[in-house]
Symmetry: C2
Subunit: 185 residues, 2 copies
């Protein structure tokens, strides 16, 4: 495939994802009709669904992309930066996440797909945690998985409260979180 065409494809995908994120945030996932997506993205439904087979696939691509970004923030700037990032995320967009999550329980197939959507990132995240244990930055008397799940609970708690319009004042809590995962003396 010629380079120009690849660039064009990538630019169109970006255009679709950016427009869809705005539309989802403004109207919720259910409320983001195809007509509203067309208007915000600036492409016809034919063009949009040429790149993504369904509205759900667009949301899924956005969520996967965000997951990758979260991992990058965590690896490069640490878990505190990542939790801060979530606390400062657009509440509307977090609301779309929650709206989606609410449907997972009733759809086991979708739930399995969602849980396994970024297997390579999951491995990278686990490896990163194990490295932090090896270098003595976090405790190693509990598994990397347990520490990851603990931070995941906090991340989801922050997302839930932020999306509900209750801003989370994270700074005073960071000391507690650090102490929870610090190496034992």
């Amino acid at each position: 495939m010629p380079k120009r065409s690849e660039e064009h494809l990538e630019a169109r995908r970006r255009q679709i994802l950016d427009g869809a994120r705005v539309t989802f945030s403004r109207y919720g996932y259910e409320g983001a009709t195809v007509a509203k997506l067309e208007e915000e993205i600036g492409l016809s439904r034919g063009a949009i669904f040429n790149y993504y087979p369904s509205k759900y696939e667009i949301f899924y691509a956005l969520a996967s992309e965000q997951q990758a970004q979260a991992l990058e923030i965590w690896q490069e700037r640490g878990f505190e930066a990542l939790l801060r990032e979530i606390a400062e995320e657009n509440p509307e967009w977090l609301g779309v996440y929650l709206e989606h999550v609410r449907h997972l329980r009733t759809d086991p197939e979708l739930r399995a797909r969602w849980q396994n959507r970024t297997p390579e990132d999951d491995v990278r995240a686990r490896d990163h945690m194990v490295e932090l244990q090896a270098s003595g930055e976090i405790r190693d008397d509990v598994s990397a998985e347990t520490i990851g799940k603990f931070l995941g609970l906090l991340a989801d708690g922050i997302a839930l409260q932020t999306s509900a319009g209750f801003p989370v004042d994270l700074e005073p809590m960071l000391g507690l979180i650090r102490d929870a995962i610090a190496p034992r003396k």
Copy 2:
């Protein structure tokens, strides 16, 4: 008011709340129509709305009641028991909570009312936390409020994951949580 009548009123309220909880859990808050509420509760809409002025007030009464129960569990059996209780709560009912919370952001008046729905319980919770600090059971180098908010993030994270059909394996994480709020040595 004669005693018999008070008992009758209380029994009717109980009947309405129990039936409404089942209906909300099964159909979601939006999906719990008045017809479905009538059927599950076993009372006519006239009778139901004689006790609670609206569907929202029934949900609100259920939520306030649950808040009081949560405080009791926490005071009598500790925060670990409370977090366990949330992890074992009916995922459908937690989903109703989340569905509700998702609407708070767009309704500032409702949000203020929700946040201040149990002021006496909030005072009791704070007093309990201060007592735990005074008796040396939890750290006192950060405010009781910060510790409470930290536990609140975890509680919401547990509720979110459980409602999405991802059961939380809390036991391995309890050590981290204890260490976060334990007195500093």
